[in-house]
Symmetry: C2
Subunit: 391 residues, 2 copies
């Protein structure tokens, strides 16, 4: 198996050495004292990262499992739900709710754009006027398929004003921990994220925060759940355990990674991601690639760009892999049309510049008209001038 030199997909992200190393630790008893300490420490660290005093439950599953848990614990079949979709993961969120019988109304945004707070409020008011006020709004924080970060603070505020009784349920999988996020200040009821994204940990854990309002809704919610029953997870967390055997090794790694993140400091982490995002966008543009995302809402964790005329993803990807660079292609209807650079978690500007260099060389080999060196130069310069996203 060849070791990838530069894994730049939007998750799993590269593991820092300290996180890698703890992955080889021997097993421990998940119903013993070491585990109790571990899960309590991880919980407190996650509360600081989510900026919340709400309960945070750690589930053994992917981020999609966390999204499912966020829905099935708080809603009942036939509940009216507004699903705001700006891409493939927004579609997935809507689909989960539908699968469990919710009456889903969609507010769809053209891929590459962010959702608009005023349009969101209109959609919620229309539902109320039709006598079917939304029980929940499903929002994506950072859309991995398009590289767009929604203006979540504004969207949540608009939702709260237009539908005060509605729950705000957030897919925070690919942004939380890398860009500013305020679960309590933004009054987010349920937020789900996944270990393999900005947390610099292997996949296997989803972390879900639940507000008091959402716990109340859970008591009445009748969508069926067993493995993803968050009330059961909370009951066990009270004794320092999980209801079912958790992914112990990934949790040990998450503990170490959260310590590294706190040592760096979240403000510093947000600035680093802002610089990496700016570098990725500037580098691609300097090579003549057109970016997918509206530049007002371009994500600092993943950048998507249209493939230039005549360039096929499979051919380009082969050249990139030969040079040790692993990117992601497009998802869903964007498959074969775009490339995506993941720049979240353990990533530096140098990593992004190196990826841009590799893409430039591969594009040059494919005969694209470009000036060698322009991409990396633009990337470096943009990183230097980048300003962190304000909270």
């Amino acid at each position: 198996m060849t070791e990838p030199l530069n894994l730049r997909i939007p998750g799993p992200t590269p593991l820092p050495d300290a996180v890698r190393e703890v992955g080889s630790q021997q097993m421990l008893n998940h119903r013993g004292p070491e585990f109790r300490d571990l899960i309590s420490r991880v919980g407190e660290r996650l509360q600081r990262a989510f900026r919340t005093r709400n309960d945070i439950l750690t589930l053994t599953c992917s981020g999609t499992g966390g999204m499912e848990a966020a829905i099935v614990n708080h809603l009942s079949p036939t509940d009216p739900v507004l699903a705001v979709s700006i891409g493939s993961f927004g579609d997935r969120f809507a689909k989960i709710a539908q699968r469990y019988g919710a009456d889903v109304v969609r507010y769809d945004v053209e891929w590459g754009n962010a959702a608009d707070p005023a349009a969101l409020a209109d959609a919620l008011r229309a539902m109320a006027q039709a006598g079917r006020p939304a029980r929940a709004v499903l929002l994506t924080h950072n859309e991995t398929s398009t590289g767009v970060t929604n203006p979540l603070a504004e969207l949540a505020a608009a939702a709260r004003r237009a539908a005060p009784d509605s729950l705000i349920i957030v897919d925070g999988v690919s942004g939380l921990g890398a860009v500013p996020f305020e679960a309590d200040a933004w009054e987010l009821d349920v937020v789900a994220t996944g270990s393999q994204k900005s947390w610099m940990v292997p996949p296997g854990l989803a972390m879900v925060s639940v507000s008091a309002r959402a716990w109340q809704a859970a008591e009445r919610a009748t969508m069926p759940r067993f493995y993803f029953d968050l009330a059961e997870a909370r009951r066990f967390l009270g004794k320092g355990e999980t209801p079912w055997t958790p992914a112990v090794s990934v949790l040990l790694q998450l503990d170490v990674a959260l310590e590294l993140l706190e040592r760096e400091g979240y403000e510093q982490i947000f600035a680093r991601h802002a610089a990496c995002g700016a570098a990725a966008r500037a580098g691609l543009k300097a090579m003549g690639f057109r970016l997918l995302a509206d530049h007002h809402h371009a994500s600092n964790t993943v950048t998507a760009a249209w493939l230039p005329e005549g360039v096929e993803w499979s051919g380009l990807n082969r050249l990139l892999l030969d040079r040790g660079l692993v990117l992601a292609g497009g998802q869903g209807k964007l498959a074969g049309s775009i490339l995506r650079i993941g720049h979240l978690g353990a990533v530096s500007v140098a990593d992004v510049v190196s990826a841009i260099e590799t893409i430039e060389r591969a594009a040059h080999e494919l005969g694209l008209p470009l000036e060698l060196g322009a991409g990396p130069r633009a990337a470096r310069s943009a990183a230097h001038e980048a300003v962190p996203t304000p909270a």
Copy 2:
């Protein structure tokens, strides 16, 4: 954190060095060529271990998630289901089916005993006569809470005769890979197991086999599922992927562990577990402990014993932990009444004898009347005489 010297709970089980070490590998792209090779190799190895040609899907979750997947993909609400429970995990299987709306009829067996094939057949015939023939029978292979292995071949044969159209759905979490198992020869439709048991891998993965008959049932089954949708998992497996980001590090470890198991050979593994089971039972009996399991059906992966009169679990457990031995207590209604020794996965007779020695010294310190050395001696001698369980 103190490293446990002898982790003897029924999962997570200790990791062999080679499995531990691969846990520190760097991440890879779960939609790339290395992953395709990995999941295809693991699938073939699992088919040899399950003794099946059926599809095997690998899900990121605990064994309980695997049990949920085994139910929700193949049944509809109001479907009549016979749940055969011989302990806590049998109860859990029934509860999952009920939670998703199945019409569950129970055949309950006193804890410590195995289910009886004739009684199972009677229960199935009674359901058919009442005009509600069972769509599925839920069976536990090895009941972790009581240390009992069901006569699965006989139970499955009785079920097939009494209710030919019923699916046979098996919780194979804590026995498969350690004691003889024949998914195809016994005509088992759905079998779920978990990585942290006999597979010598950290928790995080459930592996589920699905027969052609079960796939047909899945097409009509209306219990809601998204994360646990096995048809979606099969569709992605066809291109060497999983629908959602899988626990990559645990899967890398499972690959290495399966290679170790195949190198040892399953016949040899079954003999080793038979010897360990015999040692555990003989050692505990020689110290005056009464075993929970009917001796005809005592498990070779976990042994449960009643705590002697006057011995409290918390006090005994503290003495054991001080000596580096980690055992499990009782679950559900057996909490505080029993101890359980896990002897599955990476376990040798020497490990079991060492555990017996430690228990003997702790029991002696608590003032129990026993002859020091008798337990380990009996354990060693029983291991020597043990005969592997026939398939």
